[in-house]
Subunit: 397 residues, 2 copies
């Protein structure tokens, strides 16, 4: 990861800023309205929640993205504007319109995102009043990264450079944690900017590719919140176009930025004290491998065992077995850290104290070889702590 | 529920008993090997885990059930004999053989079940030594109900009578909690006996029907442990045959017994302090309704909100929305206790203190009308507490 900082304003031509609008109450981090702005039109693409109960800002942003172009993103935290009915859609449109008016652009050039409590009408007047106070600058990336936080304990920022043709293009982003990424993913928001020149259709494809093994590997397909949003804006300010022959390199670095951000989300999972990476190999297909890896990372039994450094490794295989992936326990192998606990169907009677030591580390590697094919995937999870319960048992109040 | 007690020995011709075999270590409840025996051959049927990583005792019992007849069930707690490879199957067969030898019956007349830590070889010598000490009696139902417990805080026993033709037949059962029924269901074991005379094929059908909206509504299809087992033995000791015309009545009472037991499992969920019932109506199909109801009962966000009496009711609709059921938020309604919080797509701005009061009750009713059809289902869940984490972070040790 670059040490340059700046996240969404790392790419040239972007500014950002935030203000306190009084939507996010009872939290220590009070910035709660953010703007990300390009100085020129951008190609834009998005990936949204697969929840069929989709929040108003996602509906509005999807509509605005039909042109393949955006110039700004407006975000609020503290209220998700979800399950808020027709009024919710009017409020999301009003948020876009207020940002557009402020910036002197069209309302359909603005993407909208919200995160926070659901089922409560958005206090749109407060959002608009807060928005009026935002002054986007290159230095405003930090405020923007804080304004989108809910139960996150720290802002999440990443950026990388990639050499394309004769020059260097920049990619940067910010995101907010899916506090309870596992298994409910209470709203992951991620915003990525680049000064590369890319047409919208190609951008959409590349974003989908980059999300699949990063953000979507810390959430679970079909197991998402009402508001999950990943947006990318490409403004071409570098003057460098990403040609078809450059795409693989560009998408590789875009994927790295997304992985950096996704890992920060896991590490900052609500109440999380440890992160674990699950690699599934030898599956019948990549899709099967993904299914197994994600089920292991979302198993409450695996998550609590890791939390307590309980060497109950059998839970790992049991979780894979209920994932829907093809699992033949007689051919599977499981390795925890560097300890083979189960090999080709036979338990290896591992030293439980050694397994306990592996589970005591802040980063834990779990490798599952299903032994039935060549499919492979990775997923990341965090432990489940009593602190998670405390946070989520008292979210509204 | 009858107040007669006796569970598995309520039906005539059955005895039960248990002993301490030293398999279950570090728990206050030390009985850990149980026998349930009929004085004559029985028709028998079973329902097993859908996890593709299936434990050895389930494999062995399924094989023994191919004849449609059993005469005894042997159970141990403390070790699940799961993910234990070929040795595990030999151990499960040895358990059946030891019980058979003790009782003077054939090994394939014995059903086997195990629950406890997975991935650790079964200490078969201890199990056999414990088994030798068991003396099945009519009074032994209580010991048997305790010997199958793991993290359960109390034994679970139910029984009912049903009038068939000129007489009364009896149905009784015991079960052990699926500690972490949500979402991983760490082994639910349930054993039901009846003195009705029923042929095996009919018994199998009736058991499947009874399980669908009871035990399977507190677990989740495809989301089960390696060992889940529900067995029924029908020994005909009442002299009363269940004719085709009696089946509906019999299955109704059998379902009641299963529901009694399933509700005890939820109420005794690990760390649970409250139980909630989710009714989904107006779904496109019963299957869709089941999917939505079960997803709501397994949502960590819903479970923690209920634990903390946090009136964050939007999480209920969000969980239904990611269930895979067809949900149109514009047509859905949600009622919590007697408070309509969301009606036909519009939030009702309910009094949050009133919602908080509903969520503070020990029993909570949640009603979701999807407004798109006639499908209906119920499911039961329990809250997620910090205590759940404590229990499961330190299970092995």
């Amino acid at each position: 990861m670059s040490d340059r900082g700046r996240g969404v304003t790392f790419a040239r031509g972007f500014t950002a800023g935030a203000a306190m609008a009084g939507v996010k109450t009872g939290r220590s981090e009070r910035l709660d309205v953010a703007l990300i702005v390009s100085d020129r039109p951008c190609a834009a693409a998005g990936v949204f929640t697969q929840n069929t109960v989709i929040a108003a800002p996602c509906l509005v942003t999807r509509k605005h993205l039909q042109s393949g172009a955006l110039r700004a993103i407006v975000v609020n935290s503290g209220n998700a504007n979800a399950t808020t009915g027709a009024q919710g859609e009017r409020d999301a449109e009003a948020m876009a319109a207020a940002a557009a008016e402020k910036l002197g652009i069209a309302a359909n050039e603005v993407g909208v995102a919200s995160t926070g409590v659901i089922g409560v009408p958005l206090p749109i007047d407060r959002v608009k009043a807060g928005l009026a106070k935002v002054e986007p600058t290159v230095a405003g990336w930090d405020d923007a990264s804080r304004a989108i936080m809910t139960t996150d304990t720290k802002p999440k920022v990443a950026e990388r450079e990639v050499a394309i043709g004769q020059g260097i293009v920049r990619i940067g982003g910010i995101c907010k944690g899916a506090g309870m990424i596992h298994p409910d993913m209470a709203t992951m928001l991620a915003f990525v900017t680049t000064d590369a020149k890319i047409e919208a259709a190609a951008l959409r494809e590349m974003l989908t590719d980059a999300a699949r093994d990063t953000f979507n590997a810390v959430s679970v397909d079909g197991d998402t919140s009402t508001n999950d949003t990943l947006l990318i804006l490409a403004n071409g300010a570098s003057g460098i176009a990403v040609e078809p022959s450059d795409r693989e390199r560009f998408v590789g670095v875009l994927t790295q930025v997304c992985e950096d951000l996704a890992r920060m989300i896991v590490a900052d999972g609500e109440g999380a004290t440890k992160v674990f990476e699950v690699v599934v190999r030898g599956a019948r297909s990549d899709e099967d491998a993904r299914r197994a890896a994600r089920t292991v990372t979302t198993s409450n039994l695996v998550k609590t065992a890791i939390h307590g450094a309980d060497p109950n490794w059998g839970r790992i295989l049991a979780a894979a077995g209920r994932s829907g992936a093809f699992v033949d326990a007689g051919r599977a192998s499981v390795t925890v850290g560097d300890i083979v606990v189960f090999k080709a169907g036979t338990p290896q009677k591992p030293d439980l104290d050694a397994v306990r030591r592996v589970f005591s580390e802040p980063q834990i590697a779990i490798d599952i070889d299903l032994g039935v094919g060549n499919g492979k995937a990775r997923a990341w999870g965090c432990d489940l702590s009593a602190e998670y319960v405390h946070i989520n048992a008292d979210y509204t109040t």
